[in-house]
Amino acid sequence: MQIQVNGEMLQVQDEITLTGLISQLELGDKRIAIELNLEIIPRSEHAETVLKEADRVEIVHAIGGG
């Protein structure tokens, strides 16, 4: 199925979880935060959060800024 990650379309397997997506993107050990369809999904819920077609995911991290 197709989902949108950080504004880009991405092909993923059906019923992938957020943990699965993080692992597919090789972000496993990164300090990140995730928003799914405009709702924050806490880290503790990544494993049980199953994605569906056309979901919009934002994955962010901290960078230098003033």
Partner: protein, 263 residues
């Protein structure tokens, strides 16, 4: 020294340093780290941005260098031009920081001036405070807007000295003074300071602290400027506490006139 017994208190937390610095525009993470160390800053701002997907998985992370156990990380909403985006960014930041809810709110008006959009800043501040955030708010030097933001529950008011990244110093010290007169929360000059003397001026005026990024990162030698800023902030604060001598229109001799060999 007096500044050691003179903590800056923001949202109930005590800090020894009155210099807050940003982490943008440095050459690399190593320069960022050394400059922050030289500045003595305890509160350090970061931006929240989309993670690059599929690029450089081994790229070092800022928060591995500037660690939350050593510094108070202050995520900002830089780059947000409306209240909704700013609120979303703060919620992502809180998740990123494991629930730590101190944020720097800035909602900008346009790219050219990066001047605060105060209408959306007020809207976002209201939402964030109600959602439990401790909001340090970047704003214009308008005393009425500052009062409104304080009454909404912001924990620090941060008027600009001049435009972000301009290095033009504090263009309207009178307005900053009016803001400080009425504020019961800390007032920080955020943006505009270009060099050490301007940081000292802000502190001598009685500002509680100064937040800066470009003045350090944009210096020819950022680490040396970070050290200069640390001293300027301390000197300015001590001068404020000491109380300057009154200005006089004419000379007043420092050496006594009695006992001179003249006459």
């Amino acid at each position: 020294m007096s500044h050691q017994n003179d903590p800056l208190i923001i949202a109930g937390q005590s800090y020894n340093s009155r210099l807050l610095i940003g982490t943008g525009k440095y050459k690399d993470l190593e320069e960022t780290r050394i400059a922050i160390e030289a500045s003595g800053a305890e509160i350090v701002t970061v931006a929240v941005r989309r993670t690059n997907i599929g690029q450089n998985p081994d790229e070092p992370n800022l928060l591995d260098i500037i660690t939350p156990d050593k510094y108070t990380i202050l995520p900002n909403t830089a780059g947000c031009f409306n209240a909704e985006d700013a609120v979303r960014t703060c919620k992502l930041a809180r998740e990123l920081m494991n629930g730590h809810d101190l944020v720097k709110l800035e909602v900008l008006g346009d790219q050219k001036t990066l001047y605060p959009n105060v209408v959306d800043t007020i809207k976002a501040a209201d939402k964030l405070v109600q959602d439990g955030f401790k909001v340090m708010v970047y704003t214009s030097d308008d005393p009425i807007v500052a009062q409104e933001l304080e009454s909404l529950g912001c924990v620090a008011i941060m008027p600009l000295g001049s435009m972000i990244g301009s290095g033009l110093g504090i263009l309207n010290p009178h307005n900053i003074n009016v803001i400080m007169e009425d504020a019961k929360v800390p007032v920080l000059v955020d943006a505009g300071v270009g060099t050490a003397s301007e940081a000292a001026v802000a502190m001598e005026m009685g500002c509680d602290a100064v937040l800066m990024n470009s003045a350090i990162a944009g210096a020819r030698n950022p680490v040396l400027m970070a050290s200069a800023m640390r001293k300027a902030i301390e000197a300015g604060r001590e001068a404020f506490l000491a109380g300057r001598m009154p200005r006089k229109r004419y000379a007043s001799a420092s050496s006594p006139m009695d006992g001179t060999i003249i006459g």
